[in-house]
């Protein structure tokens, strides 16, 4: 059960099974034509790759350039002179440690809570016949498509009346109920064999024990995928924190960066790029470390 999500050919960048035969009649001529075609195809992909990650690389390298070099024409990719003054100013003068902490607390709690709650209700929906099950699942499906812009105004009114505006609770609670997560977990919980659950019950394990000891370990890849996607979503979330965090000490990183970069006319470009790097770098690091999981998980959510 370690790679039920694996899309074919994920691990190996080599020719997958059943690719055009390389052997046979006219082998040499065919190979010659294929390498020419392959070179062209790979060149096209490299151009696309450069366009895709070029701006991100430029961001990282520019964050350590002195102000003058950033404005230089033509632009440089690698810095001529490396300086960390943008980062030191960002962290000492602009309160970025606080924003970073806020983003981290919110993303970690939202991820832990949303994954656990989604798994719990996903398990109940997939494996237990209980009164109200169809209604609950129907509601979950119906709200899958409801966009954040439809709910943020009444949500603001609600949260204001609960006295929660400008608190961590406001930033966290609305995201602990994730219909997409429930849907995803239910789909994966369906694949857990009933025999395993029955065996646990025969051994006298209660429902909660069965869930934590048997079901959760069985669905680890799905949990990991959901956790990563939830973390990414929370870290990058913008509209709701923009509305719900009203004083600077509650800003998350994207909100702080947006207000800093759009609020004033005289900005230091170096600070902006360094700020952008601080927002993007942790997520990019998580992504690169777990990229196989993410890519496979995303590929399967599309197929489920």
């Amino acid at each position: 059960m370690t790679t039920p999500l694996a899309a074919p050919g994920t691990a190996a960048p080599v020719v997958p099974d059943g690719s055009p035969p390389r052997h046979g009649r006219g082998r040499r001529r065919l190979t010659g034509r294929l390498t020419g075609k392959a070179a062209l195809l790979n060149l096209a992909l490299f151009v696309g790759l450069a366009a895709s990650i070029g701006p991100l690389l430029w961001m990282v390298t520019s964050s350590v350039k002195p102000e003058g070099e950033i404005r230089q024409f033509p632009p440089t990719l690698l810095p001529d002179e490396v300086t960390f003054s943008n980062y030191t100013d960002l962290f000492s003068r602009l309160n970025f440690p606080q924003f970073f902490w806020n983003s981290t607390v919110v993303a970690v709690v939202v991820t832990a809570g949303a994954v656990l709650f989604s798994a719990m209700v996903g398990y109940a929906l997939a494996k237990i016949d209980f009164p109200g099950r169809k209604l609950l699942f129907g509601l979950v499906l119906a709200t899958l498509m409801v966009p954040g812009v439809v709910t943020f105004v009444p949500l603001f009114v609600l949260v204001a009346n609960l006295g929660l505006i400008n608190t961590y609770a406001a930033l966290i609670l609305p995201f602990l109920a994730a219909p997409f997560g429930v849907f995803l977990m239910r789909q994966f919980m369906m694949d857990v064999p009933d025999e395993l659950l029955d065996a646990a019950r025969v051994d006298g394990a209660g429902e909660f024990r069965t869930f934590f000891r048997i079901v959760l370990p069985q669905t680890r890849p799905a949990l990991a995928t959901l956790a990563i996607l939830t973390f990414l979503g929370s870290w990058n979330n913008f509209l709701w924190p923009l509305v719900a965090a009203q004083s600077a000490d509650m800003y998350t990183l994207p909100v702080a960066l947006a207000l800093y970069t759009t609020g004033q006319n005289t900005v230091r470009y170096g600070l902006m790029v360094a700020g952008a790097t601080v927002v993007v770098a942790p997520i990019l690091a998580v992504f690169l470390a777990l990229q196989r999981h993410i890519v496979q998980g995303v590929a399967t959510t599309g197929l489920k």
Binding site: G48, V140, V150, L232, L239, T262, A276, G302
Partner: protein, 311 residues
């Protein structure tokens, strides 16, 4: 105690069980469902319902503490909103954005996925990760980068255009070019996600189909039209629906890149909703939200009709 028979062939997810035990399991199930259900009811279902209620009231920021004391105004908000030139412009801009960015993203994603699916690619996993990377980044952060790239004097885009003798415009302050610039940026950020999904779909198509078609003398175009597109239809549908939902809510790009300008040229419906909310006109904002929601549902239904497998 009736223990269910262990039977490998049975895969029904839910089974009928004797009374007492079923009741106990029902309680356990609600125990599992409770944390989600409470939060879901309070923070999602309630706002969706009260959004509809608000859209028929004249609720304003001043009514925040007493939302039930507001005046019921029927369809007034909807009438006002639909007659408002700024909102009409926002609708036009959103249609422009979705109408261009969606086909562009989908076509580019399909093209890249088809290239990646070829047996001739050297570093497939490198490309997949590279294409996907922009999608995990915060729009606010990459907007900083794109404002540099699009900067008229020292930006990389105009520098490169200058190399081929083109004098690039001041992208973000030009009413003609601001929207295309945002479309390119959105496509850049989103395309990789759809490459991954479409590639997984392409890899699910059996290769012998193509080989059989080749033996029958079918060319690349014919194979693409007769094998790839029909078999990829469910995946394309998924992509189109997800993309439509996301693109119709187009908000962060204009917020950070242009503040909806120049002269409202990049003000989207979602941006206008946020503006009305900022003015304290909650009823108006809620009416706009519902119109956007209806647009999202309608677009999804149309896509289902157009793209569902033709049996």
């Amino acid at each position: 105690m009736a223990t269910p028979v262990i039977d490998g062939s049975r895969r029904t997810p839910v089974r009928r069980e004797p009374g007492a035990r079923r009741r106990r399991r029902g309680w356990a199930a609600w125990g599992f469902a409770l944390p989600f259900t409470v939060l879901f009811a309070v923070f999602l279902v309630l706002p969706v319902v009260s959004s509809l209620y608000m859209s028929f009231t004249d609720m304003r920021g001043a009514d925040l503490r007493d939302p039930l004391a507001v005046e019921f105004v029927g369809f007034d908000n909807f009438a006002t909103v639909l007659a408002d030139d700024k909102f009409r412009q926002a609708i036009g801009n959103t249609i422009y954005f979705v109408g261009v960015a969606m086909p562009l993203t989908l076509a580019l994603a399909l093209f890249l996925a088809a290239l990646l699916n070829s047996g001739l690619v050297w570093f497939r996993s490198v490309f997949r990760v590279g294409f996907y990377a922009p999608f995990v980044t915060s729009i606010v952060a990459v907007a900083v980068v794109w404002r540099f790239l699009l900067q008229p004097e020292f930006g990389a885009v105009n520098s490169m255009l200058g190399l081929v003798g083109i004098d690039g415009p001041n992208w973000l302050t030009d009413t003609t070019w601001a929207m295309p610039a945002l479309i390119v940026m959105a496509t850049w950020r989103n395309v990789g996600y759809y490459v991954i999904i479409l590639l997984a779909g392409l890899q699910g198509i059996p290769r012998d189909l193509y080989e059989a078609a080749s033996l029958d003398g079918a060319g690349a175009v014919k194979k693409f039209r007769s094998i790839t597109v029909p078999l990829l239809r469910p995946t394309l549908l998924f992509c189109a629906v997800i993309m439509g939902i996301g693109y119709l809510q187009f908000f962060e790009e204009p917020f950070v890149m242009t503040q909806g300008g120049p002269l409202g040229a990049t003000t989207s419906v979602a941006y206008e909703i946020f503006n009305q909310f900022g003015f304290g006109k909650y009823g108006v904002a809620a009416a706009m939200s519902y119109l956007l929601f209806i647009a999202i549902v309608v677009l999804s239904l149309v896509q289902f009709r157009l793209l569902r497998s033709k049996a």
